[in-house]
């Protein structure tokens, strides 16, 4: 057991902290999320220069080739500063799927471009269902010569509006059967129509309508019919990355609240000297510590190739509820100030709720935990 970051992880974390404190602030967040694009091009390019976009990509494709756990501190810092970007979609999910399952041609073409920030890749799995399931994929692919024709609707796809490629999970109807496959879709095709879903999240989520979208056969990723397996093997990294963002956000909200409690005076003393307030802060500190440990355990196990389905769901269930609880307590401590647009806290409150709901709510993940415990078989 060792609860400290390695030298390398600490280095990544420190440089991410330094980068965001210099290059990023809440004013920029306000401006960025008001745009159609939803992320900050200049900073996206800068983090490409720092190598972060290619951390999970092998060196032969111009990446860094880091292990998954080494990326986690960087993601934590993104969550801390609410850096809205397609990082998880492109550099975690996109890069992971392409490097592991795509053919050499696609890898050579796309991975270096992901690493240097030239393309944005997103993934489209979920549809009308709240959680992802093989049975809830209704977008269909129909074979037509050397191509497939895609029709259907995907919901809550991150940054689809401005992305270049969509890794898409579709169903193919065969004579007596159906199978799920993964296609990589070029958004330049006129059959792809994206629109932004007006969520209160600081991240952008979109709706995609595939209307007779044409995808060449060579754009199938992995073996045809094995799409769900790819999703199941990749989703853990997405879920853990999201936990990491929450851990970063949790830590920041605690710091903001403690600072506020020390500075804000009522009855002639800082409100943090009142036991009620200080105990709220202590509650928050407990949640922060708990979330951090359970999230890093899942990250470490995943990074080391250990099976940990239960631990991952525990992490998402726990951190999701904790972030919601902590941001609510933070608002209470801040009083009316926290409820204003001008103060920064509301962004965290919104993000916490969004993250609690995305990629499986607490209820969903606890169901997985229960199944792993041997219940509800």
């Amino acid at each position: 057991m060792d609860f400290s970051l390695t030298k390398e992880q600490k280095m990544f974390k420190d440089s991410a902290r330094a980068f965001f404190s210099k290059q990023w602030n809440i004013e920029m967040l306000r401006e960025t999320i008001a745009t159609q694009q939803g992320y900050h091009t200049e900073n996206w390019n800068k983090i490409a220069d720092l190598g972060w976009l290619g951390m999970l990509i092998d060196e032969r494709y111009q990446g860094i080739g880091s292990s998954f756990i080494d990326v986690c501190p960087v993601i934590e810092e993104m969550g801390r500063t609410l850096f809205p970007s397609p990082f998880l979609a492109t550099s975690v999910v996109g890069a992971s799927i392409i490097k592991k399952y795509a053919n050499e041609k696609i890898k050579e073409r796309l991975l270096p471009q992901i690493a240097d920030g030239r393309i944005i890749v997103t993934f489209a799995v979920g549809e009308s269902g709240d959680t992802w399931s093989e049975n809830e994929i209704f977008t269909v692919a129909e074979k037509n010569g050397q191509s497939y024709i895609l029709n259907g609707t995907k919901l809550f796809v991150p940054y689809a509006q401005t992305c270049d490629y969509i890794i898409c999970c579709v169903k193919e109807k065969l004579k007596s059967d159906e199978r799920i496959s993964i296609f990589i879709v070029d958004t330049k095709d006129k059959g792809v129509k994206c629109s932004i879903i007006p969520t209160f999240s600081t991240d952008q989520y979109c709706k995609i309508v595939f209307d007779n979208c044409v995808v060449p056969e060579e754009n199938i990723i992995g073996n045809i019919g094995h799409g769900w397996d790819i999703i199941e093997k990749t989703v853990p990294k997405l879920v853990i990355s999201q936990c990491m963002m929450m851990v970063g956000g949790l830590q920041k909200v605690l710091e903001m609240t403690v600072k506020w409690a020390k500075e804000r005076e009522q009855f002639g003393v800082p409100i943090g000297s009142f036991q009620t307030i200080s105990h709220y802060c202590a509650e928050m500190a407990i949640e922060v510590e708990a979330s951090k440990l359970i999230a890093y355990q899942a990250a470490w196990k995943t990074s080391n190739g250990l099976s940990c389905k239960k631990e991952i769901s525990m992490a998402k269930a726990y951190a999701g509820e904790a972030f919601q609880k902590v941001t609510s307590l933070a608002l209470q401590v801040h009083g009316a100030m926290g409820f204003t647009e001008e103060y920064d806290l509301h962004f965290y409150y919104k993000q916490a709720k969004s993250m609690q709901l995305m990629n499986g709510s607490g209820k969903y993940h606890r169901k997985i935990v229960a199944q792993e415990m041997g219940y509800q078989k």
Partner: protein
């Protein structure tokens, strides 16, 4: 980062588990929640001592294993899964020994450490008094110097194990007129000395595990003062960080947890109930978090640091889990959740009712959750109490 154990630790765990399995089969103990708090068995403690499992973290020169706190946590985790009787050596091994190693004179170390580590003597802790609970520094038991002795007068309460112990580790006033916090010392007192009366207190389960201890002109040799005179409060503070740090805070009712999981698994109507599944998953998630928090405390100690913020977080979290567990268990088994052990056909042999009654003590003993939150706020977050300004 590393979230796994070393091969040696894994082997050690197996070794402890096999030993306990063996003892269980021999009938040494039942796997009953809170049992380790109730039962004291010198024989069992001595068998552990023979295995070399006492003083795992103590330095070699005092007969210890010079091993890490993580190793000790691995050992304790296995112990707590089974809950054999360990009260006889528990306080001595957990905190008296380490405190003596830290603050004691060579003479005291020589007198006590070998006996603790061989489980030849048993300790209890004399901190709380009727008017000094959370406010430890409000103790009023006095130890007044007279020639080569201290003369002790006063009363301790909630003294777990005093009825089986040979010695009591006392927190007393050595300078009754001195400033608060700087007037307290720690003294080891032989419970056989004249003037000491131990009176049993029964808890709400009807079990005798704590006591009142009265001191009437008890004469103790001065050499039994531990550490510096009048610095006892600060010594005691650092000791409680160790006291509240362990897995026992999480696993006090572990046997209940294990049998509850099996009970739900074995009953289709329960294991297919989505509300119960959600509850069980939430418990398991919190158990996992609690376990990580406990191991983190052990790791912090291994880094040579005092785990005060971490221990306060860990204890608050873990004891809340323990209460949530026993409350959930009563609801899952329904009206049988109020039936005490011994009545036929009660699910989980009445362990549920028993645990439910034990559980309020978790968030009180060893620092109430409120005191702990104040520790987290003040020492962890730098939020300090300030008196309101008055005009």
């Amino acid at each position: 980062m590393e979230f796994s154990f070393t091969k040696k630790q894994d082997q050690f765990r197996i070794e402890v588990r096999e030993f306990l399995d063996d003892e269980y089969k021999k009938g040494t103990f039942e796997k009953k929640s809170n049992y380790f708090m109730e039962e004291s068995s010198p024989e069992f403690s001595r068998r552990l001592a023979k295995k070399g499992w006492m003083g795992l973290t103590w330095p070699k020169e005092y007969g210890g294993g010079n091993r890490s706190y993580i190793d000790r946590a691995v050992f304790m985790e296995e112990i707590l899964k089974c809950q054999p009787p360990i009260m006889y050596h528990f306080f001595g091994e957990r905190q008296i020994g380490p405190s003596l190693i830290h603050y004691g004179t060579e003479e005291l170390k020589k007198e006590f450490l070998p006996k603790i580590i061989k489980a030849e003597i048993s300790f209890c802790l004399g901190m709380s008094e009727p008017d000094a609970g959370s406010d430890v520094a409000a103790v009023s038991t006095t130890a007044i110097e007279e020639n080569n002795h201290f003369i002790i007068n006063g009363q301790k309460t909630w003294t777990t194990n005093a009825h089986n112990a040979d010695y009591i580790w006392l927190v007393v006033l050595t300078d009754p007129d001195g400033p608060k916090y700087k007037n307290i010392s720690e003294i080891i007192v032989d419970l056989k000395l004249p003037g000491i009366t131990v009176r049993p207190l029964y808890n709400m389960i009807g079990v005798h595990c704590f006591n009142e201890v009265f001191f009437d002109n008890v004469k103790v040799e001065k050499k039994y003062l531990v550490g510096e005179k009048n610095k006892g409060f600060y010594q005691a503070l650092s000791q409680v960080d160790y006291e509240r740090a362990g897995l026992e805070r999480l696993m006090q009712n572990y046997p209940l947890y294990e049998s509850l999981q099996n009970h739900v698994r074995d009953n289709a109507s329960l294991s297919n109930d989505p509300v119960i599944c959600d509850q069980m998953a939430e418990l398991d998630t919190e158990f996992e978090v609690g376990r990580l928090l406990c191991y983190q405390v052990a790791w912090v100690i291994d880094q040579g640091k005092i785990p005060n913020r971490e221990a306060a977080i860990s204890k608050t979290f873990c004891t809340r889990f323990g209460q949530k567990l026993s409350n959930a268990a009563t609801q899952i088994i329904g009206q049988f959740g109020q039936v005490m052990p011994g009545y036929p056909d009660t699910p989980l042999k009445g362990d549920v009712a028993d645990c439910y009654l034990w559980s309020p003590s978790y968030t009180i003993q060893g620092g109430t959750s409120e005191i702990l939150k104040s520790v987290i706020a003040s020492r962890g977050l730098g939020l300090t109490f300030k008196k309101q300004k008055t005009k």
